[in-house]
């Protein structure tokens, strides 16, 4: 069977600088895969490469057996990849519901409906007519996640969704992830918060300076080993 996402020997360049080097990675349907690594390890470059947002890449990015190389971002989203961007990136002057509908507009048809998102995050239903800029950080992150889900992805990319949020809110968001994966959606989770992300992940990759230096199942390794690879010491 082909993996949902299969990346082979991927290198990502920013001008002369190589942010990701010959990286191999795969994500299966319904699987939560965590990418950990310090700032500048190449995590965001990896996500941007999958989304078709970087200038020059080498290697192959295959999604459901088909190559994503050279496709535009809207086309990639149309095939079933959705991103929860770092810093949420909601449209501040749009209402909550308008922001969520943007997800419907960019995505493919599928089972997620507006009401599913309101079921997941009831607070959003109450605030649906409010402008996104008036929400708290945690509520904004819910909208960002909802927006991505409404694109009906087969693969969900989450970039630092816990950044700057209160622990209670982070816990709430992380509780949702397994239920999303249970619908057969693969999740690629990029985080600096090692503890949170390893707790929820089926597998993980640790990145250092654009290379994978450790990968496997969280249960098969210890926190100390992960931390030493995280910092590269």
């Amino acid at each position: 069977m082909t993996a949902l996402l299969a990346i082979e020997k991927l290198s990502v360049y920013h001008g002369p600088f190589r942010a990701v080097s010959e990286l191999d990675l795969h994500v299966e349907e319904g699987e939560i895969v965590s990418i950990i690594g310090a700032n500048g390890a190449g995590k965001s470059s990896l996500l941007n490469a999958i989304m078709g947002q970087v200038g020059r890449i080498e290697g192959a990015i295959r999604f459901g057996g088909e190559s994503l190389n050279g496709l535009s971002t809207p086309a990639i989203v149309g095939r079933g990849v959705a991103l929860v961007p770092e810093g949420r990136r909601l449209f501040p002057s749009l209402t909550v519901e308008e922001n969520l509908n943007i997800g419907v507009d960019i995505g493919r048809s599928g089972s997620f409906r507006l009401d599913d998102i309101y079921g997941m995050f009831p607070i959003l239903k109450d605030k649906r007519r409010q402008l996104a800029r008036q929400l708290s950080g945690g509520q904004q992150q819910m909208v960002a996640l909802g927006r991505a889900l409404l694109a009906n992805p087969r693969l969900l990319l989450c970039d630092e969704i816990s950044l700057g949020l209160a622990p209670v809110v982070i816990g709430e968001l992380y509780e949702i992830l397994p239920t999303i994966a249970a619908r057969g959606i693969g999740i690629l989770l990029v985080e600096q918060d090692i503890g949170r992300s390893l707790a929820v992940a089926d597998r993980f990759y640790c990145l250092l300076e654009g290379h994978v230096n450790l990968s496997g199942r969280p249960a098969d390794t210890t926190r100390d080993v992960v931390i030493s690879h995280y910092f590269g010491v």
Binding site: M51, Q53, S72, T73, P74, I76, V77, G78, A82, L83, P85, R89, L90, F91, P92, S93, L94, E98, N99, N101, I102, G103, D105, I106, R147, A148, A151
Partner: protein, 288 residues
């Protein structure tokens, strides 16, 4: 005596309706795409000449000719954005100014080459000359009144499209944060093109009305751009209702200036604009 002044102000308000029509498309492109199309006025004049050609060579009524230009305006705006303006958007301030400036000169001289330098007006029969009594000695033309109503309807219509439709939400999303839109897969170039298509629609509407109400010639574009720009800045950038008020203020300033001396008409508009601008550079009704 008072009646004369009231009449002038009423005429000024109605003239302001036409100016607001000119300005509405500019207000949209400023608010959404954050650029000033230097060729805006020339595109209005271009469509006016199109209306002229449709009425004179095909013998169509101005109304039918005007309706024909609506889809042309939309498609023209869409293509202009997609194939020219989009290529220089986001490359700093200079390229977009220079490209639209070059376009302005091309349109002006192209029109002059095709139509000559003569001043034109599209004849619209009795409609253009009939008036309604408003009482108190104030007589208003049916045509100016129609144009003024059209300006108000246009603000309502644009508000409706921008705030009550899905494409409107997408346009505002791209306007909010184009980088975020690109990142999550919202096709910003296509959305900008649709927005410019809507601008083209407003250009066609204002051009149709201009063609039957005021004289125009191939070099009329810049003065239309300037009055539109003044209305947009006066009203507050990107605020459509503000743009309407801005147009009305300019219309009143011009008719009152013209009351003193015909030659003062245009200058009075500029002076009122510059004065208000110096006091309130952010416009009368800033959006943010």
């Amino acid at each position: 005596m008072l009646g004369v002044w009231v009449n002038q102000i009423v005429q000024g308000v109605l003239l302001g309706g036409l100016y607001a029509l000119f300005a509405m498309g500019l207000s949209l492109s400023v608010g959404i795409m954050r650029f000033v199309n230097i060729a805006h006025g020339d595109l209005i004049v271009l469509v006016s000449f199109l209306v002229l050609s449709l009425t004179t060579s095909l013998g169509l009524s101005p109304l039918v000719a005007g309706l024909i230009t609506l889809p042309i305006g939309f498609v023209g705006g869409y293509l202009l954005q997609r194939f020219l303006l989009q290529r220089v958007l986001g490359q700093g301030v200079l390229p977009i100014i220079l490209v639209t400036f070059g376009l302005s000169i091309i349109v002006q001289n192209g029109l002059q080459g095709v139509y000559g330098a003569d001043t034109r007006l599209v004849r619209s029969g009795d409609f253009a000359t009939s008036t309604v009594m408003l009482g108190g000695g104030v007589n208003v033309g049916l045509l100016p009144l129609t144009i003024f109503v059209a300006a108000i309807l246009m603000v309502f219509g644009l508000d409706l499209v921008l705030y009550r439709t899905r494409i409107g939400a997408r346009i505002r999303a791209v306007s909010d944060d184009v980088a975020a839109a690109n990142l999550i897969g919202l096709p910003s170039a296509r959305i900008y093109a649709v927005a410019m298509g809507i601008v083209g629609l407003t250009v066609a509407i204002s051009a149709g009305f201009m063609a039957v109400w005021t004289n125009f010639d191939p070099t009329s574009g810049p003065s239309r751009l300037i009055v539109a720009f003044e209305a947009v800045v006066l009203g507050g950038l990107g605020n459509l209702w503000g743009t309407l008020i801005g147009g009305i203020i300019l219309g009143i300033a011009q008719t009152i200036g013209g009351q003193f001396d015909a030659a003062w008409q245009v200058l009075a508009g500029h002076l009122v604009f510059l004065t208000i601008f110096l006091i309130r550079p952010q416009g009368l009704f800033p959006k943010y």
